[in-house]
């Protein structure tokens, strides 16, 4: 059973077909990249998976269960995490608070339980300690120690991207959607990111679907690549197959 299966989805905005009868599936444990020129419908695809948009036609299923008509938080509760092209953090909260919010689904939020927090042996305090340990683990992995108590709006762009990645990992997802994770990063940060994405898959067993423009990075770490243009599938396959595909070259460089 594929981890994620997208079947014949169509999404239009006015007269524009952002996604046009698009189908593909992602297997468990893959790093699967989606590439295509600007405006090809890549982010729309992620927004459909996350139920921010509902496609007019077609279905999306996750671990064999249809998720097309769930709410966004319903999709999240099944174990799908996401980062965004234009960083969507809670900008007036600290790094720690942002990461703790990533744990929200794993927390019990009872008010009475919170009121017993002052007693360290209490259930609520024990739970809090457990969640903080998980958050500390993510902080260690992503090297965010120095930014723990800083408001995220004050952090440099590259660090904000890492905090967003950290928040997604705090959800302990089975499927992680990364929307242009390397955009705006310098070379060093990008090297780190490549290393971490591999780690995320190998150590945590998280399946990764990634939208990315940096071809070198895509070819480096992807198991398979999907190319879309005008919302349609142009090509799909192993990295070396895809980059030598004539239609792909045409789409990117223009037809001779």
């Amino acid at each position: 059973m594929p981890m994620l299966k997208v079947s014949h989805i169509t999404k239009t905005f006015g007269g524009l077909k952002a996604l046009d009868d698009l189908s593909f599936s992602v297997e468990k444990g893959e790093i699967y990249s989606v590439i295509g020129p600007n405006g090809a419908g890549k982010s729309t695809l992620f927004n459909c998976i996350n139920s921010i948009y509902t496609p007019e036609n077609g279905t999306i299923s996750y671990k064999g269960e249809e998720i097309t008509n769930l709410s966004s938080n319903g999709v999240a509760s099944l174990g799908i995490a996401r980062t965004f092209q234009n960083i969507e953090l809670f900008s007036r909260l600290t790094t720690m608070e942002n990461l703790m919010l990533g744990r929200h689904l794993h927390m019990k939020t009872g008010l009475l339980a919170s009121a017993s927090m002052w007693w360290r042996g209490s259930k609520a305090a024990q739970e809090e300690i457990k969640h903080r340990e998980k958050v500390e683990e993510i902080i260690d992995i992503l090297d965010l120690q120095a930014y723990r108590d800083k408001f995220v709006s004050q952090l440099p762009y590259g660090i904000q991207k890492m905090v967003e990645l950290g928040r997604a990992l705090c959800m302990e997802p089975d499927l992680l959607l990364l929307d242009e994770p390397a955009a705006g990063l310098n070379n060093e940060e990008r090297e780190d990111l490549i290393f971490w994405i591999r780690d995320i898959r190998d150590e945590f067993g998280i399946t990764v679907v990634m939208i990315e423009h940096n071809m070198q990075m895509v070819v480096d770490i992807s198991d398979r690549i999907l190319v879309i243009n005008f919302g349609k599938k142009l090509a799909e396959g192993l990295p070396e197959e895809v980059i030598n595909h004539q239609e792909v070259i045409n789409a990117y460089l223009g037809q001779p």
């Binding site: 938080n73 999240a76 509760s77 809670f90 007036r92 929200h104 008010l111 919170s114 927090m117």
Partner: protein, 290 residues
């Protein structure tokens, strides 16, 4: 004399602060100024009146009953009306709150009539304490203390509980909150319930000062709204400071300048704030990247 005016202003300012707080909580979460806020508190106060005066049960039961009613009313308002709005924009939702306000107003008139009633409180409005020449009634002390207790509880809730953190997340970025599995609608419902309770507290504290009748919340609500604008609409400490400040300014103005125009000060302040500092004293406007 000025000291006395400031203390009396602080008493009425506490009520403005509570209503401003209630409106700011909803505004932060949804960008809706909830014009039904006052009458939601008014009808909860009527529930307290029913339990206390009509049934003759003790005050604590009336208080608890009114608060439970306020929680249910807040949840129901969000669940039945706000959530049902299809592809809502802010203007539509404001109209929904105005409609709900008219509905509650009409219901109250139908059920209890427009007679002015008296809500007996365990705090006397005539017995006073005298601190260094400044006189304040027991009810005044209770009102100021109530507003402070609400603030402390709200601060604890927002800064020390997971639900409070989730509420801040929804306020700052609803879409990202949902992607992290935080149910936006339920959090908004909780916001409405909390502000409904705060509004009901304000209603219960103001009913003994004025009288209990269907119109009693209209003026305080407008003042509370003015206080929230003064504070910046998006800042809870701003709403509190705005409320106290408005109560004091209004009282000083009434004594030193013109008693007839006392009520107009609130609206003068709205205009001045919008002209000179649109973000309010503590507000900050979110600027969204496009």
């Amino acid at each position: 004399m000025t000291g006395q005016l400031i203390i009396s202003g602080l008493t009425i300012g506490s009520i403005y602060a509570m209503l401003a707080l209630a409106m700011s909580i909803i505004y932060k979460a949804s960008e809706i100024p909830n014009f039904a806020q006052g009458d939601m508190g008014m009808i909860s106060t009527y529930i307290a009146y029913m339990i206390l005066v009509v049934h003759g049960w003790p005050f604590w039961m009336a208080f608890a009953g009114a608060m439970i009613f306020a929680v249910i009313l807040g949840f129901l308002f969000e669940f039945l009306f706000i959530r049902r709005a299809k592809e809502p924009n802010i203007l539509n939702l404001i109209i929904v709150t105005l409609g709900f306000q008219l509905f509650l107003y009409g219901m109250t008139g139908w059920r209890w009539g427009s007679d002015q009633r008296r809500l007996g409180m365990p705090f006397s409005e005539t017995d006073t304490i005298n601190v260094g020449g400044v006189v304040i009634s027991h009810l005044g002390v209770a009102t100021i203390l109530t507003s402070i207790i609400i603030m402390v509880m709200l601060w604890f809730f927002l800064s020390r509980t997971k639900l409070g953190l989730a509420m801040k997340a929804v306020q700052q970025n609803p879409m990202a909150a949902e992607i992290n599995g935080i149910p936006k609608d339920r959090i908004l419902g909780i916001s409405f319930a909390i502000s409904s309770v705060i509004g009901a507290m304000a209603g219960m504290m103001i009913a003994p000062i004025t009288t209990l009748d269907p119109n009693m919340m209209w003026d305080p609500l407008m003042k509370g709204f003015a206080a929230a604008v003064l504070g910046g609409m998006t800042s809870l400490p701003g709403a509190i400071i705005g409320g106290y400040l408005l109560g004091i300014i209004e009282n000083l103005f009434g004594f030193y300048v013109s008693l007839e125009f006392k009520s107009v000060v609130a609206f003068l302040i709205i205009v001045l704030v919008l002209v000179f500092k649109p973000a309010g004293i503590l507000g900050h406007h979110y600027v969204r990247k496009v």
